[in-house]
């Protein structure tokens, strides 16, 4: 298994004030597949991603990559294998760094050469012209910024990409472009995806399997076909499915 999460719990705070953000969540993601986490705000879906990266305190359970358990602060080797794309492209790029600087920083940290060529290749790879290289984020549209954020995540040629609501800040037409880009990059770079979204249709489009979460716990794991055929067990999943069809008079 490329990525395996077993009995994961995340607790913030202590004693009476503590919050169980994630309760006993398990799932397996085979190499080069795409797995989705769906739920509403507060369901713990983003916290699962953060726990995988060591950004949230794991109180029970384990996260392993290629059978190797992850613990403590993640090392350099980890970030070369696992990268994340965040929701808001307006907040995730340094406003005073040029695109070139944002993209070459991971290369400098990891002592990787050929920076010039790699940055240009990365831009072309995400469908941006090389002329974007010396621009600042505020000179780019939301969709272009999210392309840069994807390029940045791919600079270190990771195996696993964690996507936290990568298109929910974008217009529908731009969302389609970014989703198409992600599908293509996954195939070309043989990536494993874990994608978090509140939008059932987006996750269903992107992922072969998905886990529905509510209040920090797993509700139901199912595959794409089951969802398409409305073969769902849990009431909550059915409710989400119905809500995704719009308003019923």
């Amino acid at each position: 298994m490329k990525l395996s999460v077993e009995g994961l719990s995340v607790t913030f705070g202590h004693g009476a004030q503590s919050v169980h953000a994630v309760k006993d969540v398990s799932f397996q993601v085979p190499a080069e597949s795409s797995f989705g986490l769906v739920g509403e705000s507060g369901s713990g879906k983003s916290t699962v991603l953060r726990a995988i990266c060591g950004l949230a305190p794991i109180s029970a359970g384990r996260v392993s990559i290629d059978g190797q358990e992850m613990s403590g602060k993640r090392d350099r080797d980890f970030v070369r294998r696992v990268q994340m794309v965040f929701q808001d492209p307006y907040a995730s790029l340094h406003p005073r760094h040029t695109i070139d600087r944002s993209l070459s920083e991971p290369l400098a940290i990891h002592g990787i050469g050929e920076q010039h060529e790699r940055v240009e290749r990365a831009l072309v790879d995400v469908g941006l012209d090389v002329s974007f290289r010396f621009r600042y984020p505020h000179q780019l549209s939301g969709g272009q910024r999210q392309r840069v954020a994807v390029a940045r995540a791919l600079m270190l040629e990771p195996e696993i990409l964690l996507l936290d609501e990568p298109t929910s800040a974008l217009d529908a037409s731009v969302q389609a472009e970014v989703l198409n880009l992600l599908v293509r990059l996954r195939r070309e770079h043989k990536l494993t995806f874990v994608m978090v979204s509140h939008d059932l249709a987006v996750v269903n489009h992107m992922c072969e399997r998905l886990l529905v979460m509510q209040h920090g716990a797993a509700v139901e794991e199912l595959d794409r076909r089951a969802l398409g055929d409305h073969q769902v067990e849990a009431d909550y999943t059915r409710q989400l499915l119905k809500a995704s069809e719009g308003y019923q008079r």
């Binding site: 509403e40 217009d171 731009v174 269903n204 398409g228 308003y247």
Partner: protein, 289 residues
């Protein structure tokens, strides 16, 4: 008098910036009866500015001009600010996107509700409180007494938005302008809030302008939809017939959404045509001339 609640003809909103002139709305015309009208478009299409101009809420350097803007026989363009203020809130209300930024964070909900009443008519303290409680019940808040005493940060997003709607409905307006009223909410909560708005609009016979980027939602919620692109209405269509839209932009917007029932490897993307900016639908589809 025509039978329309609102008539807007040739509305323009321009922003004079130091470097250039930005035309946010370019010649929008529409009429509204006691119905649910959706305005959809992507960010920057001018949908929010269209809604705001009706209430004359576009601030300088924004400049609003129109040939006509008539609400229930009243010319909104020439109305003095003082009288406009009487219409604003009491006859035309607006619900904004995010309750977090629209409610006063340091005032209890009950006080904010009764303040709205005091501005629009008033009454005794006890009668205002009873009315406020009733409003909260009308938006299906289960524990109105507690919510009255709560500060906005103590409420969830869905509750906050219901309070906003309750507040807007206090003066019993004829027209409600809702700008992305449910975009900050979870899908299941979103539908509950829409249900409440729907019932209120029906039972009170209000007109509703529903501004949204969410085409699916508008198609299922509204009666009629205006599709905006680059500051113009490019297509007007019955909501239930959105699937038969003629304009390539509308078709593109419908198509590019992922659908659970239908598996597609690639989503169709919009190929923006420069002609969409200024050509009429008839010109584009070749039905005109």
């Amino acid at each position: 008098m025509s039978g329309h609640l609102l008539e807007v003809e040739d509305l323009h909103v321009r922003f004079h910036t130091p470097t250039r002139l930005v035309e946010a709305v370019r010649g929008v015309s529409f009429t509204l009866g006691r119905e649910r009208l959706g305005i959809v478009g992507e960010s920057g299409s001018g949908k929010t500015m269209t809604g705001r101009s009706v209430l004359r809420l576009v601030r300088p350097p924004g400049e609003v001009t129109a040939k006509r803007m008539i609400f229930d026989g009243i010319d909104l363009l020439s109305l003095p600010e003082r009288q406009m203020r009487e219409i604003r809130g009491s006859r035309i209300s607006m619900v904004m996107q995010d309750p977090k930024f629209s409610l006063n964070p340091v005032m209890r909900v009950g006080k904010q509700l009764t303040e709205a009443m005091r501005v629009h008519g008033g009454g005794s303290r006890a009668s205002m409180k009873t009315r406020a409680l009733k409003m909260l019940e009308a938006v299906q808040i289960r524990d109105p007494e507690r919510v009255m005493r709560a500060y906005p940060h103590e409420l969830s997003g869905g509750m906050g938005q219901r309070v906003m709607i309750a507040m807007m409905l206090v003066p019993d307006p004829d027209l409600l302008i809702a700008d992305e009223p449910t975009s900050a909410l979870d899908v299941t909560v979103q539908l509950e809030v829409l249900r409440i708005m729907d019932n209120l609009v029906r039972s009170r016979g209000m007109g509703l302008i529903f501004v949204s980027h969410d085409l699916e939602l508008v198609a299922t919620f509204c009666d009629r939809v205006l599709v905006m692109y680059a500051g113009r209405i490019v297509e007007e269509i019955e909501a239930s017939r959105l699937a038969e839209a003629k304009h390539p932009y509308t078709q593109g917007l419908v198509d590019c959404l992922p659908k659970i029932a239908e598996r597609r490897e690639r989503l169709p993307t919009l190929k923006r045509d420069a002609r969409w900016r200024d050509s009429s639908l008839a010109d584009l589809t070749g039905e005109g001339a």
